[in-house]
Amino acid sequence: MSDLQTDNTFSNYGIYTIKDSLEFTLPNTKIRIERIGEKAFSYTRTNSEDEISEKIIPSKSNEIKIELAPIRPLNHPARRTGYVFLNFDKNIFLSKESAATIFVQCPIEIGLFLVNNSHRDSLDWITCNPEKSRFGLYGPPDSGTLCKYAVVSMAEDMDDSISYVNGILKVELENKLNSGQSINKVIFPITDNSIYYSDSKAIIDGIKVTLRKRAVVSIADVKVDPISTDWIKAPTWEDTTTTKSMEMGLE
């Protein structure tokens, strides 16, 4: 966490105290916050296509505190779902009654929060990888689940994320079936997963995928597997929903 008292500097995720001005330069996006009055600041965001978004932030004192933190990838291009559909770039084969743990690079977005004592007000959000931020449908058009969709690569460990673009998601796979099974995707409600940050890296609460039989159908149970870490928990941008798990059909 960077609790910096000096303006004009930006290095990582964290809380910044702004007395005069500060510029965040992120991939595809530039954000500038500067004083325009004794108790007022302006907020200007410019993206790679030179689209500008401006806000005025009135302040109770002569400084404001802004927290820059990773948030769930659910806002761009529009807030439509709480589910995420991660398509692995390589298939994973699990032999019968076996287990494995993998790390994947899950997309994230960046949230800007106005810090008011312990309370965080959502100020703005951005995505540093807009071209990869898309929707996908899991299931048939009439009854499928709309998800945020991404093709994801495997990561080596929890520290292998691309700054401001993705975070590492630990996926524990367990095959309780009597035959080997290939897995190439995982769909789950990411609203139950918290995100943590340290410097410019992010990690996400893991998921546990259990392949099992229910009656005569093979299914994959997906449940949240909270991680234990000393990284800082990012504030929540959106309201969480009550969905706790997901069942996927197996091919």
Partner: protein, 274 residues
């Protein structure tokens, strides 16, 4: 004084056994009934209606209100010993006459009841009535008519009978919708290349188009002047207005930038040599 006044009212006959006093009592019963109906409706709207779908809450509110008023009226008539048997005969004939005269009103009322029971669409749904050429958001299904807000912001009232007998196409029942466009490319251009550039342009510039299911391309027709390609893309159901209107623009931009021709109708004339 008060007792004498009431006695004088009781002696004041209006018609048959109906006295001024009985009318006063009836008025009080009806007034109390209306007040109770209003309070019951108010309490229902405050505590129970928010937990119910909007249409159901509205209809339940009406049933409670008019139900209590009818009960008050029946209490009034029974307390006064009013005999309706004479009215029944005359009323029967009267009802037939009125029935013929108000056929459409009754038809709308019955259709409204069936619509409320069947619930083909609910408040806020985007629906299309192809028979009536109406598309819009359903505002409510009332006793005699339903109201829809069209895309131009105007509200249209549709008699329940027409609404009930029409085909109803729900545009909000599934999570995703499909947008379609047709484009013609010249015979000399490569179809595979045209599809590839359109697909790439859609992927880059139309973020609301779903990656899965993928955009679909079909060679629809070998036309007189061009090869007609149909482009089908899926998008979240709320975002039709941000996908369908710009789909053709995106396709044209892609074809223009890669030099693929969208031909205009051409006719080759062969003239015989004399």
């Amino acid at each position: 004084m008060g007792v004498e006044f009431l006695q004088s009212l009781a002696e004041m006959q209006i018609a048959g056994e109906l006295t001024a006093l009985s009318l006063l009592v009836g008025g009080i019963i009806m007034a109390v009934g209306i007040i109770i109906a209003k309070i019951a409706k108010l309490l229902f709207n405050k505590y129970y209606a928010p937990t119910l779908p909007k249409d159901t809450a509205k209809n339940f509110g009406k049933i409670i209100y008019f139900g209590i008023i009818i009960i008050a009226f029946l209490t009034f008539t029974s307390s006064q010993g009013i005999d309706f048997s004479g009215l029944l005969v005359a009323g029967g004939i009267f009802a037939i006459v009125i029935g013929f005269a108000t056929q459409s009103v009754v038809s709308n009322l019955v259709s409204g009841i069936f619509l409320m029971m069947e619930k083909p669409a609910k408040h806020g749904d985007l629906i299309q009535l192809p028979d009536l050429s109406i598309t819009g958001t359903l505002l409510d299904i009332g006793t005699f008519s339903s109201h829809l807000r069209k895309f131009d912001g105007t509200v249209i009232r549709v008699p329940n009978e027409k609404f009930f007998t029409s085909n109803i196409r729900s545009l909000s029942s599934s999570t995703v919708r499909r947008a379609e466009a047709m484009v013609g490319i010249s015979y000399k251009d490569d179809i595979e290349k045209a599809i590839s550039v359109i697909k790439k342009e859609i992927e880059i510039t139309m973020p609301l188009v779903l990656r899965i299911p993928e955009p679909e391309f079909r060679v629809e027709e070998l036309g007189d002047s061009s090869v007609i390609i149909q482009v089908l893309v899926w998008h979240p159901r709320e975002d039709w207005s941000q996908v369908q209107p710009i789909l053709l623009t995106t396709i044209k931009k892609a074809l223009d930038s890669s030099g693929i021709e969208i031909p205009f109708p051409q006719r080759v004339l062969w003239t015989a040599k004399e």
